[in-house]
Amino acid sequence: MRLRSLVDAWNRFFFAPQSPVPIGLFRAIYGTLVIATLVLLRPDWLAWYGPHAWVSLSTMHQLEPGMRLNLLAVLPQTNAWVEAFFWVFLASAILLTAGLFTRLNSVIVFICLASMQQRNLYITHGGDTFLRVAGFFLMFAPAGAALSVDRLIRIWRGKGDSQLQPRRPWAQRMIQFELAVMYFASFCWKIQGLPWVQGTALYYVYHLSEFQRFPVPQWLLRPTILKLGTWFALVLEFSLGVLIWVKEFRYVLLSLGLLFHLSLEYSINVPLFQWDVLSAYVLFIDAADLERAWNWIRSRLSRVALPVTAQRL
């Protein structure tokens, strides 16, 4: 009986059809972040991935042995090929963001992202890793079923319903699982370190000058406040890893997580990391709530737009 209910819960969690809007929105944000990553890498593209890069392919193989999914290792080692890889990758990320040939482009983006990181693992941060592992599961998701050009084309051709069809969310659940595991594993790593347990970890983080971005008010850098902040980070990471699955806590935790990442975005310079992680928050929002939020934004926009239009008329 208990096994039966466990199986039912499993089936409900992974297979009960739900709106594809959250995964469609995630795809658009995800694609935008991949584009942003590429744009930021562009000035030093050949310095990191070219045939005469900071780290040569042979050194990479020596330090990180084993077979790897890495197109950059099999392409001819010339600047032209490495540049071509960049443009194909960028074009595919743009198409994925728009949701055109979504499945194909999700595969291309994942392979290119994995290749790029495997080619030089010494410059990747946690945000890149999250994009890579989330991108793997995105390939299996109905990512083009909503908010996509693919869907518009299907409707124009009379093959699609104007009403969104619910889809099985198992791939979306795996991306959610990745986010939760990320927080929980971070928590587990941190509690192994004395500075986190003693509450001094953030003191050190905020004294690392290479990470500093915008100035933080002095009162926030007092040891007592930093101690509380350190412990708050631990509690929050544990909660976002474990309690996020409890519906009653979800929105409170997502709000706290959003504030936490925005404060890190303000104070710490790890470009795109916070946005890479926050992108997956949309997968935890009910489609009905997303729709309500969208309607609210639309009504606000129309209220702003109407007086302007009236003035012009």
Binding site: W54, V55, G66, F136, A185
Partner: protein, 194 residues
Amino acid sequence: MAPETPEAEPAFNRSNQTRWLQGAKRTAINVFLIFYLVVISAWCIPSTSALILRFRERIRPYMVWSGMFQSWDMFSPKPESANSYFEAIVIYKDGSSQLWPFPRMELLSLTRRYFKERYRKFEQNLQDRDDAALWPDAARYIARLNANPSNPAQRVMLVIRWSDIIPPAAGTSDHGPWNVDVFYNYVVQPEDLQ
């Protein structure tokens, strides 16, 4: 009971076949889900259990190949406790020298910091003696950056400067004195400059 029609049998077979296919697909997805839930958990969550360590070794080739390897140990188990930066001293054929600084985030504009942050990560890895194989590549790259055909670079020395962060309870000053270490010396070969 409805009389059997010639079409009834194939229709029955077809629906059976569809049901079988859907069942097989569902089973495959379940196997996929269980596999990834197990391997990702075993890979990411720190553990010293011999069983988990053995399991990780078993799945390592697949995780590495597929790009599903991941680690979530940002600022942990303990954050860096020193500020540091790198420089390179390039010595040329005529005996002259030049100091080449790696990009330092704290000295860059906000926009440049966004674009150059990868250097911070790279320098962090460059400090790790386990990754000493990166040093010759880095030295060669710096030699190429500072190439002068009439006066080629002959030697590149990698230098690290660091200053410990004073623990919060210790006193008023945040940082200790700056230390310096020339940790790698590379003799440039003519082919390095090609």
